[in-house]
Symmetry: C2
Subunit: 257 residues, 2 copies
C-alpha cells in the first residue's frame, strides 16, 4: 500500500487546498451521473461540468504542490492524502442525491465559485490569477445551467417542486461554511492571495435569492449549524469518496495500468 | 414503471442502432473511470472520450428515431429498449477492467470507429454524413491517445506488459464480430447508407498490427469465437449496464428530477 503524504500546513497552501479540493470532490459527485442522467443531454452537461471542475482542481493542486515545496504533484495531492488533510467544504461531499438536489447544489457551488474566481483574477499570485481567468468563464456557464434547472423544477410540477424543497432542506445548511472566515482567510487577504470568503456572502445571497424567487421557492431561514470540511473535519460520506478515489493509487504505488 | 418501446426492425434502422449503441455502451464503460483513473490527466481524457461518444450516440440515435417513424426520440431509444433491442458490438459491454484493458479496448474501438466514420462521410444519408464528419475527428484523437498508451504499457515494465497481454487475451476475440457482415450490411451497401463493415477489416488489421508491433506485443491468433451483440444477443454483462442506465427513466416515466 502506498503511504499517505503529509502536506504543509501553511496558510497559503490551505487556502489553495480549500479551492482545489472543493472543485475535486464536487467533480466526483457529478461524475457519478455519467450514464444515469434523466436525458442524454444532461448526461453530457453534467459530465462537462465535472470535466471543468477536475481541470480546475488539477491546476490549483498542481500550483499548491509547487508552492508548498515538498515536491508533491497534483496526483499525489489528489489521491494520497489522509481524510483530515482534504479541505473541501462539506457541501460538495454530500451524496449525489436526485437530480433536484444535484442542480440545487450545483447552483449554490457555481454561484460561489463564480464570485470567488472573479476576485481571484486580481490575486497577487500571477498563476492563481491566470487559473481564475479561465475558471470564471466555466463557473458562469455552470451557474447559468444550474439556475435554469432550479427554476424549471421549482416552478414545475407538484412532484418536482416537492423535490426542490427537500433539496433546499438538505443542502442549504451547508452554505454557511463557505463564508465562515478563519486565519486562512485573514492571511490570504493580507498577502493579496485572495479575498476573505465572507466578502462573497452578500453577492451570493442576493444572486441565490434571485434564482429562488424566480423558481417560486423560499429562501430557507439560517441556522446555527456550521459544517467543518474546510478545516478537515468531514461528514461520514467523505471516507467512501476517498476509498473509491484512492483505490488504484494506494494499491499500486506509481502503477498506471 | 415505464414500459419498453418497440423499435422498427428495418435494416437501415438496425445499421444506425449498431453504430449509436456501440458508442453509447462504450461511453458508459469509460464513464465508470470518473474519479478512478490512475492520474487526474487520464481522468480528464477518459471523461472527454466518454463525452464525445455520448454525443455521437445521441446524434445517431436521434437520427434513427426520426427515420424509423414511430416518433421515438434519442432518450427513449437510449433508455427504454429491451436488452435484445440494443445492437452494440459485444466488445464494448465487457466490464471496465483495469487501465490496460481500457486502453486496449479503446484502441480497438477507436480504430474501428475512425475507419467507419471516414467512410460514412460519403453516406447517401446527408445527416449521417454530417455526423460522421464531426465524429471522425474525435475518433482520430481517441485512436491516437489509446495507441500511445498501448505502446507505453506494452513496452513498459514487466507488470504493465503482463497486464497488456492479459487484456489482449480478453478483448481480441471480440474483434471478429465488428467485421462479420449480414443482411444489415448488404442493405446499407446497396442503398449507399454506409459500407459493409467487413470492408474495414484490412485497414483495421494493419493499423492494429502496427500499434502492437510498436508495443512489442504479439498479434493474437484468430479463433472461431464470434460474439453476437450486433444481433441483440448480449453477454451476461449487458443486463447490469442497462439496469444502471435505465433506472431513472423506468422508475419515473417522463420525470426529470
Amino acid at each position: 500500500m502506498q503511504p499517505s503524504i503529509a502536506v504543509a500546513d501553511d496558510l497559503a497552501t490551505q487556502y489553495l487546498l480549500r479551492i482545489g479540493d472543493t472543485a475535486l470532490i464536487l467533480a466526483q459527485r457529478l461524475g457519478e451521473w455519467t450514464g444515469h442522467a434523466p436525458v442524454l443531454e444532461e448526461d453530457i452537461a453534467l459530465a462537462n461540468m465535472a470535466l471543468d471542475l477536475v481541470g480546475q482542481a488539477r491546476a490549483v493542486l498542481s500550483h499548491a504542490g509547487a508552492m508548498e515545496g515538498a515536491g508533491h504533484d497534483e496526483d499525489q495531492l489528489a489521491f494520497l492524502r489522509e481524510e483530515r488533510d482534504y479541505r473541501n467544504a462539506t457541501l460538495v461531499e454530500l451524496p449525489r442525491g436526485d437530480f433536484a438536489f444535484t442542480v440545487l447544489r450545483n447552483a449554490m457551488a457555481a454561484t460561489f465559485f463564480r464570485l470567488l474566481w472573479a476576485r481571484l483574477q486580481a490575486s497577487s499570485d500571477a498563476e492563481l490569477a491566470a487559473i481564475a481567468a479561465k475558471a470564471v468563464k466555466e463557473a458562469r456557464y455552470h451557474q447559468q445551467h444550474a439556475a435554469d434547472w432550479v427554476v424549471r423544477l421549482g416552478d414545475g410540477t407538484a412532484e418536482s417542486r416537492r423535490r426542490m424543497l427537500a433539496a433546499l432542506d438538505t443542502a442549504w445548511p451547508y452554505a454557511a461554511e463557505l463564508f465562515a472566515d478563519d486565519g486562512v482567510d485573514e492571511a490570504a487577504a493580507a498577502s493579496g492571495l485572495g479575498p476573505r470568503w465572507s466578502e462573497l456572502r452578500a453577492d451570493w445571497d442576493s444572486q441565490m435569492a434571485e434564482v429562488l424567487a424566480e423558481a417560486d421557492l423560499p429562501v430557507p431561514a439560517g441556522s446555527k449549524f456550521l459544517s467543518s470540511g474546510k478545516r478537515g473535519v468531514h461528514s461520514e460520506h467523505m471516507g467512501y469518496i476517498l476509498a473509491e478515489m484512492q483505490h488504484l493509487q494506494r494499491a499500486y504505488p506509481g502503477g498506471v495500468w
